[in-house]
């Protein structure tokens, strides 16, 4: 478990990191918390010749309320997210999601920007970011742009990041009133990544009926996937055990299912439905306050 030779480049600013990325191209990898990248390097599954350490760039770790948005810096650790009062107030799902990632050591090092850039299909944070319909601010050699979370995740370990680009900020729009959110997962007992997980956000009308729903499945499929059929089945309904169970039964529709020793496709499909039901019920309860 010794990585192949690489050159280490500590970047002191985003511009420097982008310049280095542009210089080394495909031979380079960004290192943030390192808790996904370093293990794959130690197994020599990844052998980048250049490692650009962005972990020391100042000013990329923050949680800020900016009008109708909460902005989270790319280098904000899971531990910081887990303990954030601001996030807890607006998006219960985010601290909840962060709290079930790995163990305290991982949460103290791993970052939200690193997780979404890595785009591991079994990771928890990409699903949460997608369910909250965040906007992802990225910077590259051609300047800055913003990508909607729904457009960001393209496949297994694949994102909309162009060569030379890095994530700098994740922007969460404040939810309307009577919105609740939750994250549930069935953890792989070894890695504690999700065998199946669900990030759910529901908004209720004055009459208690669901007016909007955002449901994303992690772990079961090859990428964090929006469960559109579930969402459609929820909107307009009073959310109770029966209606939610019926809606959640559509959770695996559209998923490109994965399979390994921790779960067959069939099991993952079923667990996606179970996790969806539990997350939606919890989110609805939170929406009711």
């Amino acid at each position: 478990m010794i990585p192949a030779t690489f050159e280490y480049h500590p970047a002191s600013s985003v511009d420097e990191a982008i310049a280095l990325l542009s210089q080394y191209g495909d031979d380079a990898k960004l290192l943030a918390g390192g808790h996904s990248l370093i293990p794959t390097m130690k197994l020599r599954l990844a052998q980048p010749a250049h490692l650009i350490d962005i972990g020391r760039i100042p000013g990329l770790s923050y949680i800020r309320e900016e009008g109708n948005v909460v902005a989270v810096g790319a280098l904000t650790t899971y531990a910081t997210i887990e303990r954030s009062e601001v996030l807890r107030r607006h998006f219960a799902l985010l601290p909840e999601c962060a709290s079930v990632i790995g163990d305290p050591q991982v949460r103290n090092r791993g970052t939200i920007g690193g997780s979404i850039s890595h785009a591991d299909p079994s990771a928890d944070m990409p699903g949460a970011v997608r369910a909250l319909k965040a906007e992802i601010r990225v910077r590259g050699p051609n300047g800055e742009r913003t990508v909607a979370a729904d457009d960001f995740f393209l496949g297994t370990f694949t994102t909309a990041l162009e060569p030379g680009e890095m994530v700098t900020e994740i922007r969460f729009p404040l939810p309307p009133a009577r919105t609740g959110s939750a994250y549930t997962k069935l953890a792989n007992k070894a890695s504690h990544y999700a065998v199946a997980g669900c990030a759910a956000v529901v908004t209720l009308g004055a009459d208690g009926a669901c007016t909007a729903a955002s449901v994303v499945i992690t772990g079961a499929g090859t990428m964090p996937t929006r469960a559109s059929a579930v969402e459609a089945a929820l909107v307009g309904k009073q959310l109770n055990e029966a209606t939610v169970a019926e809606a959640a039964s559509h959770a695996a529709e559209g998923l490109e299912l994965m399979e390994d020793i921790h779960g067959s496709k069939q099991y993952r499909a079923q667990m996606a439905a179970v996790m969806a039901r539990r997350a939606i019920l919890k989110a609805a309860e939170r929406a009711r306050g």
């Binding site: 010794i2 007992k189 070894a190 390994d260 020793i261 921790h262 179970v274």
Partner: protein, 784 residues
């Protein structure tokens, strides 16, 4: 015995301050001038022929000093040692190997070549430059398939993968089964898989080898449980006299049996050190540890049990298929035959028991002793068998246990297997555990939960195991233990033990024994171990033997010194030795307590010959060897409660009660620590762990991302209690406790899960999907 001031007291471990403040020295902390590093090239195939190996490019790589293959070792380094080779095939060489694979690789991770380089990184990088031309061969990973006539053969020259079979005549057990059925009784059959586990100590293996050419002395630092055995066998492997080999075992970060072996890397590092003239270090990485360090368990058990309608077991028939893996390590071939079969009756007075066994080679890592070593499998068989009877008869499993226990007045008791148990009170332990957990209330709660459609189960494990090995005849070499005790001039005591504690805490318990017997503070006693140059010949720490065997050696040595000190004290006090007593660190004359000399004064006197009585040698030092006449049999009952999430199949362990009897407890705190750790490993087997290979012999659990270790957060607090039934076979009355928790826990959890599901048996490990599938089946076909 002196006054028991320390023995029986829960004092803290004396070894812990250095361990928890980072001041302990492990193998990887050994750094020698000019040291080189070794990396091992391993087979990526489960089974393949090696057509050729080209090491030229690797030899040219920067910093590389040497590259060795099996060709370099031929005639120089002998085979990996095996303690007890069994006929017919193993005695003829089947399953034996040199340190590097020759001609064929037989499992994923099989060592093929080594690189010796100036840095660990350089050595690793050069591995990628070695070209091996492999011809992949069909692999076999299932021991039952491997036993079939058409299976791919690991050792073609033997024409079979079955290394040995034990098949006694079945006449008697057949008769018992027939009679039982004729009398209205039952015979229940069940196939059980006891899956393969990776011992996974926190510290992986490691070795540093240094060879001094001038006097041809080899020093080996190794993370091992058996320094003396390692020295003796390694000397033989390398053709060196034993006295020119020194083994030092520094701190060991867990062994659990996997370091009770002589592995290829020890001889390889030694060979490299002898060839290059430089010290050579090898540290196993985690992926190597999961792939090539021995695995444990891996048995398939066919269990048939007969019982009367009342629940009295009349006969037990067990066939064991033991998966050896691809090669033999130290005890690989004898685990099932020597440790599982003799214990299949558990703590039940079964009139007739039958055990048969096939030991089979497969394209997987070698199996060997892992915490319990064959006894967890036996306890699992016995406990599941009793539960099968209870389930078939609709009886409470506690009741069936009570009916069948060996009774306290029957000890020493010869079991139907021929094994003689020393002492026990099984019913008391079960009753105590039932009371502690509130068994009847739990059964009531379970009935309520069932009515609500919830899955809750209660599991009982009334285990017994075999410890304190070993009496003569168990292995080709004696399994005695030794102690050298010295009282120095200032009255301080040094204990050199031949056992090799590596986390069990004997630096504390052995000091407790000596301090009590001498009547001095524990601070004046130091326990030393792990260096073959300073400790007397010993057999190491495994099989929960160290306190029963090594502790007794310490006790006996102390007695000898006490006698000598009494003679010296008597001379000083001008009294008869028979009238002198030692109490509270003072020798005094019976009836005249004012006539006294202190322990330190006698120690000083012993080292000045002009103050000694005539005929007494100066000095206070003695070496004692102790070989027990028989084994000890610790026992107890563990009861646990599980709840199952019907939607996901996840098993939640809600409560866990353990009542253990390890004989007399020298230090209850250490006993509790052993029980806690043991339970976790046993629960790990039931709920989480399992080594998985695909059909080509590829290892699918090669990192902790896929091999699931139990976590503290997944376990309830353990509720512990104990009974005390001393063994008559050593003066301390101790039995052993290192493996008890592991042996007990797996069947307890297995019983609870089967109980929750209302089934006779479910195979471990209870992974969520496995349980979910069972629940799905049950819902699809509701029971009548």
């Amino acid at each position: 015995m002196g006054i028991a001031a320390l023995v029986g007291t829960p004092i803290k471990r004396r070894e812990d301050p250095r361990l928890i403040t980072g001041q302990a020295t492990y193998v990887d902390d050994i750094k020698l001038p000019g040291m080189l590093y070794m990396a091992v090239l391993r087979s990526p195939y489960g089974h393949a022929r090696i057509r050729s190996i080209n090491t030229e490019a690797a030899k040219q790589a920067p910093g590389v000093v040497a590259v060795y293959t099996a060709q370099d070792l031929k005639g120089v380094v002998g085979n990996i040692p095996v303690a007890a080779p069994l006929p017919p095939h193993i005695t003829n060489g089947m399953g034996r190997r040199g340190p590097l694979a020759e001609g064929k690789v037989r499992f994923y991770g099989d060592p093929v070549a080594v690189v010796i380089a100036e840095s660990r990184y350089g050595a690793r990088d050069a591995l990628d430059l070695i070209e091996v031309d492999y011809e992949p061969l069909p692999a076999v990973v299932d021991p039952e398939k491997a036993a079939q006539p058409d299976a791919p053969l690991l050792y073609e020259e033997f024409g079979t993968n079955v290394a040995a079979s034990v098949r006694p005549p079945t006449d008697e057990i057949d008769r018992v089964f027939a009679e039982t059925q004729a009398n209205g009784g039952i015979v229940v059959k069940q196939r059980m898989v006891n899956q393969r586990l990776a011992p996974s100590p926190m510290e992986t293996r490691g070795v540093v080898a240094e060879f001094r050419k001038a006097d041809r002395t080899l020093t080996i630092w190794s993370s091992s449980q058996i320094p003396h055995l390692l020295r003796n066998y390694l000397a033989e492997q390398l053709g060196l006299p034993q006295h020119q080999v020194r083994v030092i075992v520094p701190e060991v970060g867990g062994g659990f049996g996997c370091k009770l072996n002589i592995y290829p890397e020890e001889a390889l590092a030694a060979f490299a050190a002898m060839k290059t003239g430089h010290p050579v270090k090898w540290i196993e990485d985690r992926s190597e540890n999961l792939a090539v360090t021995i695995h444990g368990r891996d048995q398939i058990n066919y269990v048939e049990v007969a019982a009367t309608r009342e629940g009295k077991i009349t006969g037990l028939k067990v066939h064991v298929v033991s998966d050896l893996g691809a090669y033999l390590q130290f005890f690989t071939d004898v685990i099932a035959i020597a440790f599982t079969l003799p214990m299949i009756c558990g703590c039940y007075d079964i009139p007739v028991a039958y055990g048969s066994c096939d030991i089979v080679f497969t394209n997987k890592a070698p199996t060997d002793a892992y915490r319990g070593a064959g006894r967890p499998e036996a306890a699992y068989i016995a406990e599941r068998a009793v539960d099968l009877v209870a389930h078939a008869l609709g009886k409470d499993p506690a009741e069936v246990r009570m009916i069948n226990f060996v009774k306290p007045e029957q000890f020493p008791h010869k079991m139907a297997t021929g094994t003689v148990y020393d002492s026990g009170n099984y019913q008391l332990a079960l009753e105590k555990a039932m009371q502690l957990i509130g068994y009847q209330q739990l059964r009531a709660e379970q009935a309520q939960k069932r009515a609500q459609g919830k899955l809750m189960g209660i599991g009982i494990s009334s285990y017994v195991e075999i410890c304190g090995i070993g009496p003569k005849g168990l292995t080709p070499f004696g399994l005695y233990e030794s102690a050298r005790v010295r009282v120095d001039q200032s009255g301080d005591v040094l204990i050199y033990t031949g056992a090799s504690p590596h986390g069990q805490g004997e630096e504390t318990t052995f000091a407790q024994i000596a301090a009590d017997e001498f009547g001095i503070p524990i601070e004046r006693v130091l326990v030393l171990h792990g260096d073959t140059d300073s400790t007397p010949e010993g057999r190491g720490t495994y099989g929960s033997r160290t306190t029963a065997v090594g502790g007794t050696a310490v006790y006996n040595a102390v007695q000898k010194l006490k006698e000598k000190m009494k003679q010296i004290a008597a001379h000083m006090l001008e009294a008869s030795p028979a009238d002198v007593t030692l109490e509270d660190g003072k020798f005094s004359v019976a009836g005249a307590p004012q006539k006294a000399v202190t322990f330190a004064e006698v120690a000083a006197a012993a080292n000045f010959s002009n103050t000694l009585p005539p005929g007494i040698e100066p000095g206070l030092e003695t070496t004692v060897f102790f070989e027990p006449e028989a084994c000890t049999f610790p026992f107890g009952t563990h009861i646990c409660v599980v709840e199952i999430d019907k939607d996901t199949g996840e098993v939640h362990l809600r409560r866990y009660v353990a009542v253990d009897d390890c004989g007399r407890q020298l230090n209850p705190l250490l006993v509790a620590g052993q029980i806690h750790g043991g339970i976790v490993q046993g629960v790990g087997q039931a709920l989480f762990e399992g080594v998985v290979y695909d059909e080509n012999g590829q290892l699918l659990t090669s990192t902790f991302m896929d091999y699931a270790m139990p976590l503290a957060s997944e376990l309830p607090p353990f509720e512990l209690d104990h009974t005390v039934t001393p063994t008559p076979y050593n003066p301390l009355g101790v039995k052993g406790v290192g493996e008890a928790g592991t042996i007990a826990a797996t069947p307890a959890v297995a019983g609870a899960v089967a109980d929750a599901l209302g089934l006779p048996h479910v195979d471990i490990p209870f992974t969520p999907e496995r349980i979910w599938r069972i629940i799905q089946q049950q819902q699809a076909q509701p029971q009548a």
